[in-house]
């Protein structure tokens, strides 16, 4: 018997309740449309976007979410359609904004981005809710996992303080550390870094947060604007790639005015 015939026979009695399917799909589809419009609107006014005023900001010294061994629990992934589009600089910035917003509350500004040389980079300024200090810069850098980085098991390097390395269930490695030796923004600047090294995806995702920003004029927050747990959640988003992004972010990026880098 031909496989085609066997497959047909196997499901010959399966029939859908078309009226219910239509109604339920339409309802769910309307929800997708609403979320897309909301996301696009966030991008359009993203220069100064005030998010929800409830909850807490993930900063050192405040309660932090638990980073589980499971998939990142941002709450945004479920709202994505699963469709991808070629990566753009503005789309990467929009993706970073959404990823940050999923772990902390605050305001955003000065979006920057670049896609070149097989890498993508996006940065933004983030001011946690209730913060009195200057905004802190948050940046994501998406790179191919170069041979120079080596293969697993990954370890801490000499410049990484308070470093932690953890292998994730999917085979990726999560490495977090303090990089306070970087004095690019002054001796009082602090930088927290979370990076995911993924041999399977040939991808390195580096996310960091500062306690200041390039335009702060020597002012600093006490601590970087995101803590390691939040940075880890951002770095672990499964849709990071050097070539494409969820189409919702690319679409949102079209309405985003990037600040010159």
């Amino acid at each position: 018997m031909m496989l085609r015939d066997q497959l047909e026979d196997a499901v010959a009695d399966v029939a859908a309740d078309l009226a219910t399917l239509t109604t339920a799909s339409r309802r769910q589809g309307l929800g997708i449309r609403r979320r897309r419009r909301a996301l696009a609107a966030v991008g359009a006014v993203a220069a100064v976007t005030v998010l929800a005023v409830t909850g807490y900001a993930l900063r050192p010294g405040t309660p932090e979410i638990h980073v589980s061994d499971g998939p990142p629990s941002t709450g945004t992934e479920a709202d994505l359609s699963g469709e991808s589009a070629p990566i753009t600089a503005a789309g990467t910035a929009a993706a970073l904004q959404d990823a940050v917003a999923s772990v902390a509350h605050g305001t955003f500004g000065r979006f920057q981005g670049d896609v070149s040389g097989g890498e993508a980079l996006a940065a933004l300024l983030f001011t946690p809710l209730g913060s009195n200090g200057p905004a802190g810069q948050v940046m994501v850098n998406l790179q191919p996992l170069l041979r120079s980085v080596g293969g697993p098991p990954y370890t801490c390097e000499s410049f990484m303080t308070d470093c932690s390395v953890r292998e994730l269930p999917d085979g990726d490695t999560l490495r977090t550390y303090h990089d306070d030796g970087d004095s690019e923004f002054g001796a009082a600047s602090k930088r927290l870094v979370a990076e995911v090294l993924s041999p399977d995806r040939h991808l390195r995702v580096v996310v960091f947060a500062l306690n200041t920003n390039p335009w702060a004029g020597g002012e600093y927050q006490t601590e970087p604007v995101l803590a390691l747990h939040g940075l880890s959640e951002i770095a672990r988003q499964p849709w990071w790639s050097t070539t494409e992004l969820p189409e919702e972010y690319v679409e949102a990026g079209r309405d985003l005015d990037l600040y010159p880098g």
Partner: protein, 179 residues
């Protein structure tokens, strides 16, 4: 009255004017596809609903597509393979007579074949279903699954070999069609 259409039936020549028409023309076929992919009727209902929801959300593109059925099937395959679909399920059952005895199908065969399919990796399952249930050329199967054509052939051949351990009488030439 339900309309049973094959894959190529809903094309530019018979373009559905509304989302309802598309679901009416293709719903049964999509659900059967989903049952073969998931091996589970409830999971299949979720999968089909997710696929149609995405089609509705981008109806302007779907309705203008050369083959709206293929468009929806591609969404369904992608959702199945991406493993990102929502966990929230429909409140209402979508199937007619879910638990009723099969009217025309062989229940024993169905369980056996679905069980056998379930032993395959999801991507292999998708390759087989697209290739043999939908009779798609290898190139289109490759496009929908994100594999190369050679990888599709390899996976199909390997999957068929595994199925033959349960169904020794599968025709030998089925895995060798170079199309």
């Amino acid at each position: 009255m339900k309309t049973e259409l094959l894959d190529e039936a809903v094309t530019v020549a018979h373009r559905p004017a509304t989302f309802e028409e598309l679901v009416a023309a293709t719903g049964d076929r999509m659900l059967r596809t989903a049952v073969l992919l998931t091996g589970d009727r409830h999971a299949a209902e979720d999968l089909v609903q997710s696929a149609y929801a995405q089609a509705f959300a981008r109806w302007r593109l779907v309705s203008r597509a050369e083959n709206p059925t293929a468009y929806v099937r591609a969404i369904l395959t992608r959702v199945f393979l991406s493993d990102r679909r929502r966990k929230r399920v429909a409140e209402l059952p979508l199937l007619d007579g879910v638990d009723a005895p099969a009217a025309t199908g062989d229940a024993t065969l169905r369980l056996s074949l679905l069980d056998a399919l379930a032993t395959l990796p999801p991507t292999d399952r998708a390759v087989l279903v697209l290739r043999y249930f939908h009779d798609l050329p290898v190139a289109e199967v490759a496009t929908q699954t994100g594999l190369s054509e050679s990888a599709c052939r390899t996976r199909a051949s390997r999957a068929l070999a595994r199925l033959r351990t349960h169904f020794p009488d599968l025709a030998d030439h089925e895995g060798e069609d170079p199309r």
